[in-house]
Amino acid sequence: MPWDRNDMAARAAQELEDGFYVNLGIGIPTLVSNYVPEDYDITLQSENGMLGMGPFPTEEEIDADLINAGKQTVTELERTSYFSSSQSFAMIRGGHINLSILGAMEVSEAGDLANWMIPGRLVKGMGGAMDLVAGVQRIVIIMDHANKAGESKLLKKCSLPLTGQGVVDRIITNLGVFDVVEGGLKVIELAPEVTMEEVLNKTEATIVGS
C-alpha cells in the first residue's frame, strides 16, 4: 500500500536529527512538524525572518505581525529570534540551515528540481525556493510519484523550468525513498507492499544499483 500524505510526512521526519535547523516548504512538508520525535530539539526557520517558529495561534493569539513564509498566522517560542530578509537569506545561502523539505513538480535523476513555473500557465514566482535549494545543506523532496495523468515525476531530465540544478539529495514519494546518486536514482526504501517492479514501471528516471 503506497504512502499517503501523512505517511510521507512521517517518513520525512526520519530525516531530522537532534539539534537540526530546518526549513519546511508549503503543503505536505508542513505536515512534517507533526512527526518530530519528542526528544529532538528541532528549530524551524521561516524565510520571511524568523528562527524558532511555533504552531498556529489560538484565536486569541493571532498577531498580524507574526506570519510564516506561507503568509499564515503562526506563534513564537521562547527560543524565537526575528531578523530581516537579507539576514534570513544570509542564513539560508550561507549553509547554516541543516535541512529543507520541499514539494516539487518534477525531479531529474541528476537532482535537478522544477517546482516554480509551468510555461503557458500563470507564473506566480519562485519566492525563496531557489535560495533554499542553492543554500541549505540537504534538500529532501516530498511529492507524489506520478502526476494526475499518471506520468512519472521522477524524470531523466526535467521538462519544466528549473528551480535548481543538481540540488536534490533525496526524494520521498508515495512509493518510496530515493537518493540522487552517480548515474541516477537509488532506491533506499519502498512503501509497504510496493514492489521494485512497480517502481521501475512507474519511474522514467534511471534507477541504479537496485
Partner: protein, 231 residues
Amino acid sequence: MKKVFSSADETLNGVLKDGMTIAAGGFGLCGIPENLIAAIKSSGVKELTIASNNAGVDDFGLGLLLQDRQVKKMISSYVGENDLFMQQYLAGELEIEFNPQGTLAERLRAGGAGIPGFYTATGVGTKIAEGKETKEFDGKTYVLERGLRADLAIVKAWKGDAQGNLTYRKTAMNFNPECATAGKITIAEVEEIVPVGALDKMQIHTPGVYVQRIFAASHEKRIEQRTTRAA
C-alpha cells in the same frame, strides 16, 4: 533638519515623479507601508517601477496601485496573491522581473551598502541566470547579481524617533530594513513616534541616517491567511 511630518501626503510632497523606482518594504500584507501606498495611489503618479517581494492583493497594499495602472514594472519574488496583477501581466500592461527572494533582499542590501554586484549560487542553471554573467569560485559556479537602489524607499516600522531611528516588530520587519538602506530618499511610517533616547540604543534596527522623513499613522494590518489551532 526636521524629519517628522504629520501625514503620508506631507512626507511625499515634492518626492514623487512619474517613472521613478520605489522600493517598498513588506512580505505579503505584513509590515507594508499601507498609508504611504494609499497616498501614492491618490497622488496619481504613473509609470512606476516597484521593487517589493510581493504585489499585495487586489484591494490592499501595492494592489491599489494596479487599479489605476500606476505601475509599469514589478521586481518581485512572488505575485501569486494578486489577480489584478495577473490580468494586467497577461494583457501585456505590466512587466515583471522575478528575483529569488534572497537575491532580491541581498540586491537591496548591496545597493544600500555601495556594493554594485555580488555572486550567488541561487538560480545558477535556471532561467534566472540567463543573460547574466557567471563565474567559478573554488570549482563551483555562481551568477553575478546587481545591487539595487531606488529613487524612493517606503517602509513601515513599529516605533521611530525624530532622528529617524526605527525598530520593527516580529515578522513585520522582513524587507523593511533593506529597503530603508536602498532608498535615495527613505520615508518611514511608524505606529508610534517615541522621544529620542527612548529606543534601546543597542537595538535600533535602522539607524536614523537612512531615514529622511517619518510620520506616525494607524495601520489596518490585514491578515492574508488566518490560520488557528484549537485553544
